[in-house]
Point group: D2
Chain length 377, copies 4
């Protein structure tokens, strides 16, 4: 450790692409913020010993293992950062909480509502800091959108529009893997949609009722080896109507079958006084139209959300240079570490549970073909 | 009449902005197409005598009246073109059919399903040519989109996305007029949404079930004169889930309360092999992404739908110059007049009725808060 | 003639695509404006008798001829509208002026500076109304741009940027025709660049010096018939530095060899207080950024130049519907006819001559490879 | 050091925003690449002791100093990375080379051509690895653009278009600092333009002649303290015509006085067979239009340059997530460290000198108001 600046030991459970994104966040955060403590990548845990070793080395972890329980219980670990498939999240959260570790968990919180409740109970009982990985909250333009809504820049929100279009499942010949398994991979509603639901409730307020439809266009996929077919148990594409507390209404769509949409998500709010629109393909920008402006200037403006007055932007590059996806993890790591060890951390697992309640209502609405009430959180 | 090229006498009923758009179409169509007959603007009918006279003169009508029945029955009128508020359509259609005139009727066909059935019955019994005003079908980029779907350029359609965002009703202080009256103005579902439903069924196929929500954020509006308040009986914003015959699903949203969206409509299809996206704010373009293209070129292309090989484009300007809204009326007038007097004309009132059945199902679904089945047409 | 509203007889000389655009303007202008007089298409003149007859019939001309002198001298012709290749303009202007007719002449005014001077002298001596076809001035967004500059919305203009990229000559195998002949087709500098120079001087002020380069990448083209090759005598692509009176500077580029640019022109001004940017591919929009606005809103706004408060827009469609290329001709016809018979008309042939002086300076600068001074007009 | 993976000691000279960007590159590169060696941030050198200490600590340097000569000569330093104002570059390069250190130098290489020659001589004589900071070469979309040109995807390049618009100097009230001093800050031609010239020669080939104009709209600026005025000795805005070896032509513009352009750079090539266009505001995209494609698909495609088949992209995030400015430094650090210690490194200081020769020719052309020949490199 650097004198006067304690290290914070981090175990990352899971060694895939999210682990790399989180490691990136820990590596870069200290350069962009004057943090009181420095993250130390203690141990990486994966299933395949050799691959985990290689990844651990590249990402700069001091150690590696295939035994996540051992990683979680190490004395030099302060934070357990969970990047496994969703079906495994709850068990790791519970173990980490039991070991008195702070928890950072990727979204969706779990693959079942019961697991999500158990995870929240575990961290609450243990009294450990905990955070859920809704990283897009920490993109400057998204954070600015929320701030402007809170400041009344659109008046009273009336309509919300949210879509996430990808082509991850477009190839019907792609073999079955855990992402197509409801128990392990949760659902497209939860995988992509949890971000959209989190943003909706964070910006607009509680969703009270939903009505949805889901479709799986490729119901069976070949197994990775052999000639067998396995049933796909997740939705590929889902859409929903949303009713918020009050009179605001919304729409929601997630899909992994939209050819040549790599990862195009968009959220928009229309209020009594203005419109705000964010499109991820232009992630450094925010569109804004205000009813009060003169007709001679009718239209929307493109705010380039990189000015030092904008959220997070002062920690980054000169205006116009642009940040990318990675910055959301850097900003997340920085804000969580900056609040170490007293907290609070947000959004936390409770938020993750709340979002999952909405996702569960969407899923059951699609199954039952009727409106579903979302329990108040 | 010009030698060898007969005039076709046209009465336009209604003297507002749609009348002007139709007159524009009749004026310009003969210049862009080598038509077998020339339209002659015989008579314009409006409510206000002085205003109708002025408008008739500017638009080039030979005569004007406030008595629509007399206009419809004139011997020198071949086509009755109906541009009144929707609540009046059916009665004019019936009178025109009874007089043996061809009918061109603006959308939505009527304000009630019963009226729509009556209108279709009237033209069917009379055996007169008839057309409904789904003008956007005749924008080059929209027509190209439909053609490419029909040619299999997106494979099997799986998802459909359609939105129409405007701010026509955003000002809560705007006084009550017929547009806020369900009996006269139909609904936002019908006014904006009929275009979207028509395009959906034209491009993808029959819609079988819908589930919807509607909202009227400003339930009362002041009367144009005096201190009174009148209840607004139309929806201001509605959204719906759509199920098509087969497995395709869709979304639908129409709104007149989206600040700084003047008239932004967009339709998108995602099929097994490709994506097509049209946005009205860039009406000369069509976005297209094909799964079969090499990964090195991953993304969508912007087709500039103005090449002579594209629908309608050979009748217009050199590529890159651009057409606007007016061209949809010119193209409509040209194709209808080109088919004079034998037809067929399309889309016809039967299509208008079919679209209205879907709109009615959306409306009742929103009222009942459940999925509604659309009758097969 | 309609009672109280005299007809204005028009002869159009030239029967190609510009003739069609002008006829479109005359046909539609009376519908969009309450004009004091109605244009009547008296005679169309072309080289090929049969083709001219067909075109005249479609466009609605009362008569047709291959003898332009006869057309010009007809008693029932009030305005001679010249849509021939540039190399023929001057002779027709002189004859029309001699016959006491008003003149509307497409750009560029002529193919040589001497001819341009002669044309201006002719209309001046004859005292006839005259106009040059800088139609883009009458696009709403372009007119708004000029208005905002004049109102000081960008402060003092400092930089000007103008490009016109097309691929009209990209196919090196396309055969020689008059467009490749300097004597008949003028130059790319004059054909495309005259618009850019006109806008530059209209918006910013006089250009005093230029420095340019030109290139003809395909120096010989095959003849339309036979095996021969003909030397191309026009520039295909040219660019220039511009110095305005005062300290403002600019750039200029025109090209007909830019693959997949159909007709993409753009003009931008940067002043002490703001930026305005117009791109023809989005012709209903104008981008505007103002230095005085708060940093929290940093960026440009997209003005949708279709509000009734914007130039020309009140004569067109509801905001958001969009106009196209044709509207520039409608607006031109309307404003010229509205000023009939007293004038003034603008821009006139003198403006055409002025622009041609700048184009000539650009051409000679490219030939001499040095800065050229532009005579003050 | 990690076993089997040696550390490479790095001294960064200069403690401003470029130092931070470089440190970011060193911190993140090892996570994204499996590098043979790990960079170690040994020492940061700045002018202000307290500020440098703070920055060194945040950025993770082991030590800090205000004496750059001592930093350069440390035994544990392998690479001297120069992030000072341009006027200081040459002296540091010479000292580093003399100490046998590898050199990474920000652009522009120096503020004078003589200094640039001296810097290249120093590293050449010393035989040390050396690199110049043309970081944008290592953006995926830029690298893809160059690759596609090299593969013949546009045919023979004919036209090149390059602009860099910023508003860094737009505020005429901003006080004088070293950026306005030609001796220390070089010029806008060199600061922004060196990137454009580097890309032009890298993609198209040698520039042989240039003709330019420059303007300084605010010739005097107030001193940071007191009432004095200091003359601004740099250009604020410059533009140039470019002639390449062969027949290709180009344009060039750099400006720091374009209101509401934060850092908008764009480069485009038009070849006999296609067009490629890159705009920094959409840095993950590349536009491409090919003449050989069918007219029915006429237009440009938007390549999302994030597929694993694209340059650098396999080291980053899933397609559609997007990278930002920082990635250019990560990619640079990774490729230089991957080639440690044998090299080669590119682009090197010789490239920096070459670019500076073109910039010098542009500068002298603007001063002399005539075409300037660029020496062949």
């Amino acid at each position: 450790m650097t004198a006067g600046r304690p290290d914070i030991g981090i175990a990352v459970i899971g060694s895939g692409s999210m682990a790399r994104a989180h490691a990136y966040g820990y590596a870069a955060a200290p350069l962009m913020w004057a943090l009181p403590a420095r993250p130390r990548l203690v141990v990486l845990c994966g299933r395949d010993a050799a691959g985990t070793q290689r990844t651990a080395r590249v990402l700069g972890f001091g150690d590696h293992t295939t035994d996540w329980r051992r990683a979680v219980e190490r004395a030099d670990v302060d934070i357990v950062d969970i990047c496994t498939p969703p079906g495994v999240h709850a068990e790791v959260v519970r173990a980490a909480a039991a070991a008195g570790k702070a928890v950072i968990c990727e979204k969706p919180l779990t693959a079942s509502l019961a697991d999500a409740v158990a995870a929240v109970d575990a961290v609450t009982s243990a009294g450990v800091l905990n955070a859920i990985g809704f990283n897009y909250r920490r993109l400057p333009a998204i954070a600015l959108m929320r701030q402007m809504i809170a400041e009344g820049k659109v008046g009273t929100p009336q309509l919300w529009r949210s879509t996430w279009l990808s082509d991850e499942f477009s190839d019907a010949a792609a073999p079955f893997d855990w992402r197509f398994d409801r128990e392990m991979g949760a659902s497209t509603i939860a995988d992509l949609g949890s971000h959209l639901i989190d943003l909706a409730e964070w910006m607009i307020g509680p969703i009270t009722e939903v009505c949805a439809q889901s479709q799986t266009f490729t119901p069976y996929r070949r197994e990775a080896e052999g000639d067998g077919l396995t049933r796909v148990s997740v939705d590929e594409s889902s859409s929903a109507l949303l009713q918020f507390a009050g009179s605001a209404r919304g729409t929601f769509e997630v899909s992994k079958t939209c050819v040549r949409h790599p990862c195009d998500f968009a959220v928009e709010v229309n209020g009594t006084e203005g419109t705000l629109l964010f499109e991820y393909a232009r992630l450094n920008e925010l569109r804004y139209g205000a009813a009060a402006e003169p007709r001679s200037l009718y239209g929307m403006r493109i705010i380039r959300a990189e000015d030092p007055v904008h959220p997070y932007a002062a920690h980054w590059w000169p205006i116009g240079q642009g940040i990318g996806y990675g910055a959301s993890f850097v900003n997340t790591a920085a804000e969580l570490l900056a609040a170490w060890p007293d907290g609070p951390w947000e959004p936390d697992l409770r938020t993750g549970l709340r979002v999952q309640q909405v996702c569960a209502a969407i899923e059951s609405s699609a199954a039952d073909r009727r409106w579903s009430r979302v329990p108040s959180s």
